[in-house]
Every structure is written in C-alpha cells, then in structure tokens.
Subunit: 592 residues, 2 copies
C-alpha cells in the first residue's frame, strides 16, 4: 500500500501565509448560495445546494491531488538534514518505537527532560518568524499541550523546512510527534497541560485533515444555535451551511444542529460533546451498578414484534417474510414476561422506537430506554423507593465521577446546579391530588381550576415543578396516585380508591422523566379493566398480553421506564435531547 499516493499537507511555499478561518469561507459560501437562492423555489435551492456540494468536493479532490504532488516536489528540494524527521506516513508500523508513548491526562513533571512520543490531533499551529512554530496538540476530550519546533542552525534534528512543514499541517490532522518534555518559561494559558511543553524532534502526519473543515474545532465547541429540522427544511441546503453570528465573548461563530451533524466527526471531537458522551456512558453504568447490587437481572427484550404494543399509534411497521412486523415502542410486555417467568427483578437498556411526526428539540424517533420491573412483596411503594434510590445514586454518581465533565458542559451550556435531597433525606413524594392542589392554590392564574381526575399538561408540569423547586429546593420529585383515566389499561387501580391508580411519574427540572406503577397481575381483573377502557380483550397484541397471566400464577409486580437521553439532557439542562444522543433520529433525519 506504500506505493499509493496519499494526501499530505500543502508545502509551505504553496500555502497561504495564514489560511483564512474555515468558518469565514463557509460563511461566504453560504452567503453566496443564499443570495442566489433567496428568490428561487425550494427545488432550485436544493439544486443549488447539490451543485455547491459537487463543486466543493471537486475542489477538495484537487487539493488532495495537489498536496500529493507537492510532497514529491518537497522531497526533490535541496538537502534537508531533518528530512527523515517529518513527513506524511500512513503506515503505523513505521513509527519510531524508541520513545515512551505518553498520555496527556497522566503526564507529570517527572517526565521533564525525557524523550516521549505523543499521538494527537494537531489542533492548530502558528509560525513565529521562519524558524519556529507553535502547535497545540490535543489528545482526548480537551487535553492539550503546547508543542514547539525550533529550527537548529545546523538543520538537525529540526530544519527550517521542517518548521515550515509543521506550520502548514492542516488543523485536525492526526500526528505522531516525538519530542522532549520541558517546563515552559511561563504557564501556557491556552492549553490544559499548562506546566509542561513538548519540544519537537520528529513529526509525522498519520492522517491528514482537509484544508477546509466542515466545522472548525472552535465552532464545534460553541453552543448549537438551532435544533429545528423544520426551519432548515424551509431553506433547504442553504440554511444547513449557515453559521450564526459570532459568540459574544469568544468571537467564534456557532452553527446549527444540522451543520453539526453534517460534520459529525468534528461535532464529536468538540470537548463539550466528548463530555456529554462520557456523562451518558456513566449514567448507563450507574443504572446497571445500582440495579445489579439489588439483584436485578439484565435482559434484552426483542425489537421486532408481531403486534403494535400500545394500540398501534406511532409505531413503525415493516414487511417481514410475508407478514408485518413492528418495532417495539417499549419493553413493557417483555419485562412482565420475565417477571411471570420467575426472574424476580429485571432491567433492560436498549432502543425504543416512536413513529411520531414531531419535529421538536424534545423528540426523537429512536432513543435509549432504561427499564426495570420487579416483584412487589407488600406494597408498590417498594418500587418507588427503589427508583428514587436508583435516581439519587445516578445524580450523586454524576456529581462524584463526572464533575469535570459537568463543569465543561456548563462552560458551553450554562445551567444551575441540579438540586437533590441531602444524603439521608428522602425524595419529595406528593400525590397527584396534592400536586394539583398546590397548583390551584399557589400556581399561576390559569391553573386555578385544574382537576384531580385529568392528566396534567406540559405547562402544568412546568408550573408545578417551578413551585416545588422554590418551596422544597429540589429538582427531583415524585407524583403518586395518578387518576385512573390518565393511565393505560395495565395500570393497577388503588383497591381503596379506584378513581386513582398505583402509578406514579417522576420529574427532573420540571419535566417528566419517568412513568411507572403497579401492573395488574390477575387475568380476570386485567380483562375487566381492558373492557372498561373500551378495548376488546381479544384484539391482537392485547389477547397475547392477557394470556401471559393465564399461563401460570404471576406475582404482584411493577416497574418504570425512562429515557437515557432525557436523563442526561435534563440533568445538564441542555437545550435539546439531540445533544445527548449519539446519532439523533428525527422524522426528517436518518443520517449520519
């Protein structure tokens, strides 16, 4: 493979003294496209976009070819005593093995004076005169170090050609650098590793970035400006490329969610996204840890099912070997089969699918569900105790294990501390009726007449959450005993008051994060309630559900389901769940 031509950074002679910031060029391109497209139809705009894309790609390929050719030119230049110490080298097996690989996260002053190797992204570089170049090398998340290459008058190990070459490496190229760790004269404010710097002796580009990035590193780390697929759709491709006005403090422009997703690689490299991803992974881990410690068993419900699980609305349907299959909207049915099958306590983490045509920053068509189900020994409040313990464990776990990540996210998306009860204090638990009473008595004018028998609207939830935060200093609380009419057919009615159910919701920052309750475990009672809800107990999906409880005696049980994306987004108070997802799926977007 060594004989294949490879893209390489443009040589100094041919590169502009300082490439214009990528945003500027993108903005210009967008503005031009905008001028052209403003008075034309959507179709024309689409066409223009396609054309622009095609041309951009043509340009990119030309740049690649030029770069490759230029490398050969450079090689043909006058003698360069450092010529073996830098260049394009894609074959990983060829990197010098003689210096210890370091990680910036664990690098300490004991390394001063030592020769080391660092694998990193070249975040940016800046020439100082013709003999010196400063580069910021980024390793993981936001770990950066300043690297310096200074040409030696003798030309070894660093020559002027080498310095110029490093100065022209495209930002976000992946480099392997050898050098000596030294203490800087004064702390390097721009880098996370501020007390050390790297004096380059070798520098190889292992994978070159393009001359113009779809999204610069700095812009990728700015708050996303617009989450609507809908708006962008109106302006088609034009809006996709548009960059919002420069941020107040930083001077760095910000971009829309669509622009981020079209440059998914740079979106993910942004420290804020790395931090969100790390927090998300840790929430999963905390969820599992806590439940496993309570003897819950992990299982996987199927995603392909034979009948629409919750009545057929908002469910994806697909052809399946001559029949129809559906994508599961929740693992409810299967969690209960596990309990019926003697598994006592189960949890699952997996995708759930909603074919809901909602184009908002709060909705996705696929997300990750966190579900649990357990036997009840004496009373369904055991489940609420377990869930509250679980969520407190998660909230406290985020604070303990991810404090740096949370702080980093807050530096981009500011939010107030997420308030939870002090250790030893219990979670605030009101009945639905108590919540409605609070709303009637202390809430806004418009909620003076809310009823105890009807489900709450989202504005009611928000108003109640605000009242509770002010009154009880908590961002996390539970509402118990939801009215019968607000709960699905499988919800157990309160034996003492059948107008309400043994069912609850829990809230984070004024928004519902979790729904759950005791399920009916007796087939006769279940059929009766299904009929009461106006549903035929023999209809497809329903009959199979009821039959589970006829197969053998099933103990009392209940559980809950919540969305991982929402837990992360609500905890961090992100402007959209799309930021908490790895690959958000919306009615208009299935890529990347």
């Amino acid at each position: 493979m060594a004989e294949q031509p490879k893209p390489a950074p443009a040589p100094v002679a041919e590169a502009p003294a300082q490439a214009p910031p990528a945003e500027a060029s993108a903005a210009t391109a967008a503005a031009e496209a905008g001028d052209e497209g403003a008075s034309t139809s959507k179709k024309a705009a689409k066409k223009a976009e396609a054309k622009a894309k095609k041309e951009a790609e043509k340009a990119r390929r030309a740049a690649e070819r030029a770069a490759t050719a230029a490398t050969s030119d450079a090689a043909a230049q006058a003698e360069d005593l450092a010529k073996d110490n830098y260049g394009q080298e894609t074959d990983v097996t060829k990197y010098s093995p003689d210096a210890g690989h370091i990680n910036l996260k664990t690098l300490g002053e004991e390394s001063v004076g030592k020769t080391v190797t660092l694998r990193a992204w070249l975040q940016n570089s800046r020439m100082q005169g013709a003999k010196m170049v400063f580069a910021e090398l980024r390793e993981e998340g936001n770990w950066t170090i300043q690297a310096i290459a200074a040409a030696n008058p003798e030309g070894a190990p660093v020559s002027r050609q080498m310095v110029k070459w490093i100065g022209a490496v495209n930002p976000e190229s992946f480099v392997v650098v050898e050098g000596v760790i030294q203490k800087p004269l004064e702390p390097v404010k721009s880098c996370r590793v501020s007390n050390l710097e790297l004096h380059i002796t070798k520098c190889f580009v292992h994978a070159a970035a393009p001359t113009v990035l779809g999204l610069t590193f700095a812009t990728a780390n700015r708050p996303v400006t617009n989450f609507s697929d809908e708006e962008a759709k109106v302006e088609e491709g034009v809006e996709k490329l548009s960059i919002a006005p420069p941020g107040e403090a930083t001077g760095v422009p910000a971009a829309s969610m669509i622009a981020h997703l079209e440059s998914i690689v740079m979106h993910k490299r942004a420290p804020v996204q790395q931090a969100i991803a790390d927090i998300r992974a840790e929430v999963k881990q905390l969820f599992r840890e806590y439940l496993r410690s309570l003897s819950f068993k992990d299982f996987e419900p199927p995603n392909l099912i034979s009948a629409a699980s919750e009545g057929g609305a908002n469910v994806f349907r697909l052809p399946y070997f001559g029949q129809d299959a559906f994508l599961a909207q929740s693992p409810q049915f299967y969690k209960q089969i596990e309990i019926a099958g003697g598994r006592k306590r189960v949890f699952s983490i997996g995708p759930v699918f909603r074919a809901e045509n909602s184009n908002t920053p709060r909705h996705m068509t696929e997300f990750t569900g966190l579900d649990l189900e357990m036997e009840i020994v004496k009373d369904y409040h055991e489940i609420m105790d377990t869930i509250e313990g679980l969520l407190l464990y998660i909230f406290r776990g985020i604070k303990e294990r991810c404090s740096e990540e949370v702080e980093l996210v807050r530096s981009v998306y500011p939010s107030e501390e997420f308030l939870v009860p002090e250790p030893g204090q219990s979670v605030l638990r009101l009945t639905f009726a108590e919540g409605q009473k609070l709303l009637r008595e202390e809430g806004p004018e418009e909620f003076r007449n809310v009823s105890d028998d009807e489900d709450m609207s989202t504005p009611q939830e928000k108003a109640l959450g605000a009242l509770i935060r002010a009154k009880y200093k908590t961002d996390f609380f539970a509402l118990d005993k939801f009215p019968e009419g607000a709960r699905p057919f499988y919800a157990k009615e309160d034996p003492k008051n059948p107008k309400v159910t043994n069912a609850y919701d829990m809230f984070m920052r004024n928004q519902e994060i979790l729904s759950g309750g005791q399920r009916i475990n007796d087939p006769v009672e279940l059929e009766a309630r299904i009929r009461k809800k106006g549903v035929d107990p023999l209809s497809p999906g329903i009959k199979e559900y009821v039959d589970i409880f006829r197969q053998a005696g099933v103990p009392a049980h209940g559980g809950a389901g919540l969305g991982l994306d929402r837990v992360v987004a609500f905890y961090l108070n992100l402007p959209s769940v799309h930021l908490a997802a790895y690959y958000p799926r919306t009615p208009k977007r299935l890529t990347p």
Copy 2:
C-alpha cells in the same frame, strides 16, 4: 378491586383425587386434533386449531367461574378454626408482616425454630392420608424446599380443610407461606434445600395457575426436542402441542421449541433456562468490565439508518415519513465514526438485524451484537491481543462466577469442558494459510486441495477446529491474515502482501464466533479498494462512509464484532442459539 371475582384453586370436594399430569391431557388433545386434521388441508388444520383453542379457553373460563363459586361454598361450610390461615388473597398489602421474609439461597440452620414467611411457586403437592400434605416450594431458579402442613386435631393453626385445600392448589401458583423452619428427620433428596423444611402455619395463594399448564415444570426443564419452525409449520397447530416421547432416565416427556415458546412463562421458569439467562447476563457484564478497565467507552449506534449498511442484501426496509429506512445489520459504520470523532476506544452492546430467510437452529433475524473498535498505536495485532484477553476474561469469568449454572445446564444439555489456555499461556494464533496447510496435510480427504486464497466453508472450519482441539487442546483459537477476496471493502490489505488482509476470525468449539480486522483509514486508499471490489464509491451508503474519512484525519484503527447469543450457545455447546436468546426471532416467528 376486592369485590371482583378471582380465580381460586378448586375445592377438594370437586377436584379429582389427583389431576392427570398436564402433559397427558395436552398429548390427548393433540392426538385428537391430529386425527381430525391429518387428512385435511393446512387451512383446515389451522381452523381446527383455532377452534380447539377457543374451546380450551371456554373451558378454562368455566373452570375459573366454578372455582370462584366453589370458594363461596367452601366458606359456607362447617366451622374451620384455621379459616383465616389460608385462602386466595390477591391483595399483597394483606399478607402478615409479623414474620421475617426468607430467601432459600441464604437460608441457614440458624433459622431452625423460627417463624418465617416465604414467597414462592408451589411446584407440586402430595397428600399423605387426609391429614398431611407435602409441597415443594420453589423460589428462584432451582432453589426448592419441602413444606409440610399437618392437621392438628384441634384444627388450629392447621385444620383438615386447610390441608386438603393446600393439596389442591394448582402447581405453579404463586403462594405466600408462613411457617416454622425445622430440621427434617432425614435429608430431603428431592429439594435443593435438603437440610431444612418448612412447617406451614399459613398458606395464601396470591396468583393461581390454571388447572392444566401448557408445559409442566418438569417438561420445561427437559432438553428441547426440535428447533425447526419449518417442520412444525408443515403440521400447523397440531405439531405445536405435540410432546416428544418420555426421556430415558426421568420418564418426563420433552417438548419442541415451539411448544416451549408458546408456553414462554413455563419455559422461562425452567431452571435450565434461568441458568442460561444468568450466564448470558454475566457474559455481557464481563464484556463491559474488561473493556471499561481498558478505557473503552460505551456508546449506542442507531438502529434506524438511511442506507443498507452492507450492500443491501438481507436488510429490513421500512417506510419512514415518506422515505425508506433500514434496520442496521452491524454498528460498523458508527463504531468508526466514534473513532474518527476522537473516542479512541469504544464498545457497544445492542441489537443487530438480518433479514435472512434461514430457518435453522443457528440463525435468528435479530440478535445481540457485542462490538468493539480501537485506535491502533503500532500494529493491528494490538487488537487481537485485546480481543483474546477479553474472551479469556469472559471464559474464565463464566467458570468462576457461574460454575453452578454451567453445571445445571450440563445436567440437561451435556457438554465437554470448554478448553482454554492455562493462565499465562497465550491463545493459539495461526495464519489463514497455516490453517489451510494443516487442513491439507492432516485433515479429511475432501480438504486435501483447499486454497489459501478462498474463504473457508463451515465444514472446513469444523474440520480445522477438530484438528486443533486434538493437537493443541484448545476450544478457542484465532486465524489471522484472511485472503483479500474473503474480506469486505473496508478491510486493510497487508502492506507487505496485498493478497491477504490485516483481518482475523476467532473460533469457539470449531465455529466462527468473531470477525474483525484493521480498517482502511485513508479515504484515497479506501476508494481504490472499493473500486477494486467492483463497487461504485459514490453509491448510497458507500459515499457517506468514505466521506467520514475526508472530514478530518482519522487514525489507524480496527475492531471486531461477535454475537452474544453465539458466545453463550457455543460455550455451553447448546443445540441451538435459540436457547441462548430471550425471545428468539426467526423468519416464521415473531412471538412471544
């Protein structure tokens, strides 16, 4: 809800002295249906089945009604001093709180003489005369204890009526029992807790099982006789109910996979299935533990994607808001985006979908994928080292943490010990060419001419695995350097010998369990190989894939994917992966 009629065990007076074994009745029903259906068409058989089902349900409902009525009769009987100590009681809040709940798993001799409460399934019961009943109570998996109720001449706390009532509780009902722990006169061989027994003072049926189970507990724990949906399909509903001839040693009949799945609740209650599920959950946990300890990050790839990921064959397609969506066949693309996005090392555990019309015990249309991807520092063998370490960790972990479960599974599905290298010894790693040479020189006649340039067939794999087990005493080995033609377009060719790739498979018990390798990380090289494979690099799905490597410099990387179901099935040498899955999905089966 207390006023609602509830099913209850039939009173002694009306119940047959000993209900006929459920299998017998099911077999009779099946035989009858079979007689009727034998000469008719499939359609008629289906109709007959539907009719039989309808009637069975009618009968069941009648029994429920009768039982309810009879309970009132019983209540109206002569004075029963124990009448508050037993009965049907669905309301969990009413169970006596005054005795400590026990778990059989942790029950010790220090409990002798103490009054305790046990929540369990009544596995079976047997009257001894009119005054005494023996019951086997099962708590979790296969933890059982013998319980005895002996009528006191004074009638309190246990009366003759109570004894008879317990003797008539349907097997697999869920009961809450209060009693005193005592030492039996001699060890109880039939129960796992053999050194203690429970002398019943109260017994409530919390959830009644039906009189006739679809699958008895004993049959559910016998080896499944037949995994073919295909065969069963031919005989429609008839075969579904059929029960195979009695097992040699036990005298308990065994049933087909379809019969098991139609009685999913009993299938899951079988100790062998509980053990398999426990092992499966632990494999997931071991996978995560090991990779997290090496700084791998958990992430979730999307399942809904916009283009068929591997060329369009065997992929499920569904309508998606006016466009088409596909179900992901592998997280390959997304693992690589994570690496490009700076995540260094990632893993995922989630569903993968294959629309392959294969009706065999080895295939499923949905299964759980275990995937990993990592940067390469110097050489792709780093990945092989990591995977081998991971799998050894899993194999040793199963042995250490699940020895009882493995033994239990072997008691139903016998298998030889899974051979792995001793600690400190490395995993056997041959090149593909070395494997072929071994086959040619020492394998069966038919493989004397196998080529180094073509992929292996399944029979070749099996033959090679057998040779290796005999020669190297291992059930786990790796084959490296697969021929170029046997690997997909994204596989990296060996720079020193482009006829082979930096790609490998690993094997468990002679079967391929894992495929992986180094991926091409350079867009120019990638396009060239795509063209070499005869694919247009601008075709849908492919273009988006290549573009990822153009967005910014992506370091060398590679990984692997394996199936959780297969790891479990191969380790235990189960006759089908369907037994390792929670809810196996086949072209003909989407239920339960």
